[in-house]
Symmetry: D2
Subunit: 269 residues, 4 copies
């Protein structure tokens, strides 16, 4: 297929590509490839020029013999290991599920607040594609700056409008398909959320404590939301040894409770 040949990703790393380098000890590094630069690890150096032009999937070494794999990063790689953060982030196990539960797909218009480090922002921006858009609210300028920089480095900033704002003053957009609140007191903003969401639109929030969940679902019931659901996802990782397969000794026991609801049109009296 001709179009396939044209569109298909280059087999070799190109200048400005985002590369994941994974060391033999499973340490990993995210690097934007630039001719002339050098990449330094704790165990030696490799020139970007030796990476540029190398096929993806190749195993190479630093000048000190430390083995590295040259890979494209997954969304999970970027969020978990490489996003610059100074807040608790939303993890891929939750953000992937949020896409499914909120019907987020190419073309959707989505609001989130707050922006935080941008971990969910980048997942949303990627999922809505060029035909959709993400509006991300944050009231702390330095957080917004960090998230914007993160998104710019990933080439996703065009898909996002960043707004510096306390959301108690409401949202600029209306008729959005989905709205995600990652704030400690989501119950305080449900009137504003309802105004911004399209009829039947998807609402969700992630909360660490059971007290917050109780308070939010009580407020949702009183503010014309329906089909309220509370769920949590637990990820259990295994040691991938064929003859000794077993779960890892420890796991993350809690990231947060997910609350989902739909905006209803109030019945006419």
């Amino acid at each position: 297929m001709l179009t396939d040949d044209i569109d298909k990703p280059a087999k070799c790393a190109q200048p400005d590509d985002l590369a994941l380098l994974v060391g033999q000890d499973r340490k990993s590094f995210l690097v934007r490839l630039k001719p002339g630069l050098q990449f330094h690890t704790h165990r030696g150096m490799v020139a970007h020029d030796d990476l540029i032009g190398s096929p993806w999937g190749r195993q190479l070494s630093t000048h000190l013999g430390y083995a590295l794999l040259l890979l494209k990063p997954s969304t999970d790689d970027i969020v978990l290991a490489h996003l610059k953060r100074n807040t608790q982030i939303i993890y891929p196990k939750e953000s992937g599920y949020i896409l499914m539960k909120m019907g987020i797909k190419p073309g959707c218009r989505v609001i989130e607040a707050g922006t935080g480090s941008g971990a969910l922002t980048l997942v949303l921006a990627q999922a809505v594609g060029p035909a959709g858009h993400v509006y991300s609210y944050e009231e702390r300028a330095e957080m917004q700056q960090l998230a914007r920089k993160n998104l710019e480095q990933l080439g996703l900033a065009d898909a996002v409008t960043f707004r510096l704002r306390d959301i108690k003053h409401g949202f600029d957009e209306c008729d959005v398909d989905a709205l995600f609140l990652d704030v400690p007191n989501p119950w305080d903003y449900l009137a504003q959320v309802h105004v911004a969401l399209s009829g039947g639109g998807f609402f969700a929030s992630l909360l660490p404590t059971t007290n917050q969940v109780s308070r939010l679902i009580g407020a949702l019931e009183k503010n014309d939301f329906g089909l309220i659901e509370v769920e949590e996802l637990l990820l259990r990782q295994y040691k991938a040894v064929p003859a000794r397969l077993r779960p890892m000794d420890r796991m993350v026991a809690h990231t947060g409770y997910l609350v989902f609801a739909r905006a209803l049109i109030p019945k006419e009296e």
Copy 2:
């Protein structure tokens, strides 16, 4: 913003829209709206013409007074409650996570085998968007037929090339970004998988038993795959009652073990 006004989804249900109707008892129904048709429930009827033109999020009733909510369906709604199936399917908690772990986004080219009922197919088709493509292999004609019909009804069939084939004969595509095997014996096809995947490409599989996991990860190690991971996701649902918040009494304890790996370029000897 003018473009927003043009692009934004209509506030009211239109002919040919896919609607989710949720009854007061939380029973839900997926309906393609067609002028002149009637929708019959166990508790009364409503004319499609009364739904068409109604705003999304409206609460209405059948002629017998059974309350219904008119909503757009999420991916989760479609997969869990409404996909016609005659096989075990891949659930949204796993398919959302698969998108994150395999870096699947607009523009990606992805292979899956087997097609099954098409539950993962539709998630992949949606995620890769119009700029990407899904190649879905199946050797049972009637399964493929069911999946194709499911995808057509969702308007996603254009994003998918269905191939009727035993994958032991290999895949037609090469340099794909990601390849998902949902077959009982994935270890038998790793050579074919390696040929089809781009260098460093993403491989994944979902397997119900620990014996299969051991066998697959052993075979991956011997077939030039690296960064092997085994994980499982557990979804716990809560009763969403503000004053009596608690987990549901029972839960799904097992859907399957997820195995992820990257295709490596063999070291030159």
Copy 3:
């Protein structure tokens, strides 16, 4: 060893022994063996006289050829499958852990309220042995009657003093080693609990909702209890097939939250 020979359990079932009969379909039955009686299943009959004198562990059949295993029951067998109940009971996964966390061993004096169907009562009675004692409070006469009958049939009634009482009037005992509250509003009785417990004594409760847990731990803090812990136990069962080992499809997702604390002696002002 001579004493071993004297004390060791008979190899064969004796009159008045409690027998567990497990059918080939894993249906199980708890029977007190009595000469002359008959045991009837849905698939045939066996005379108690054919069981009495049979060695434990023998496989026998009803007159219709339904295979049965003759076994002594475990505590788990008795509680899970055979205790007559008309309330939610405390399951062995929790009751075994309660023994460990509350230091319950031969010789201990323990209070519980309410008695319920006696599931925890029997575990406590067994664990404290002849040198200890259990005081079990209940305000519903018919519940007490059921529990008493359950304990009598297990030969454990002597280890228990049943009291028919609203515990708001306090407990008759003092200086008990441990006190377990299985009531919906444990926070209302903490003063009475403190009077009954020995200094430093063990308190525990099992509660279904997060709201109850929050309320109880708040009240414990204000009533001279310390070392408060909240925990839950999840039991996951596997299909025991060597070549296809995997978790069961579904599991119990919630029995309750366990709350533990120690009674402190208030600091002198």
Copy 4:
């Protein structure tokens, strides 16, 4: 009640009592009280003579003002925090459940192998009481020595016969009620186990990997064992803050898979 007065535990700590001291930072210490000795912490000293005669549950301080609680230890306190160990131990969440599943109660005769650090040994010794007995096999002399010392310090050594032996040579006892194997290759000893167990007796094992579980249950099927069960227990701990109740961030994800079975009497041909 007169007998209660005689038997009930002293309200105050006595010489030779085992005391748990819990600091204000939740650090805890297990101490055998001896007149004239001193107890030293990282934050000051307290004389045993100031503890002896103090009521249990009292809050006191070191000479540097570090607050301490004087408590009797639970089985959980002893095993988790204070048992001297140089092996992986069996945790209270499992050992409590093992008591329930294997019907272990006062009067039972139980074999375990290997002894390890004695964590399960002490739970078994306590549960079978003075009328029962535990036979504990170990082939490493230094492990046995450690376990014996642990049991002696807890006053439970009389309930245990320690045997230094490779169990491939079989067990000295027969007709025991229950037998627990904590060894990496339990499938190699099932003939010996069957000889030692009473008819219908309880067998159990704890294994870290799925491969071991598959192998053991395959061997059990071939060696006249029945009612095979595979289970695991997950313990989730919460932050006990009334207004911010939530699970701890991390948890132990795996201690081992529990395998249970009953020894059957082979059918006569």
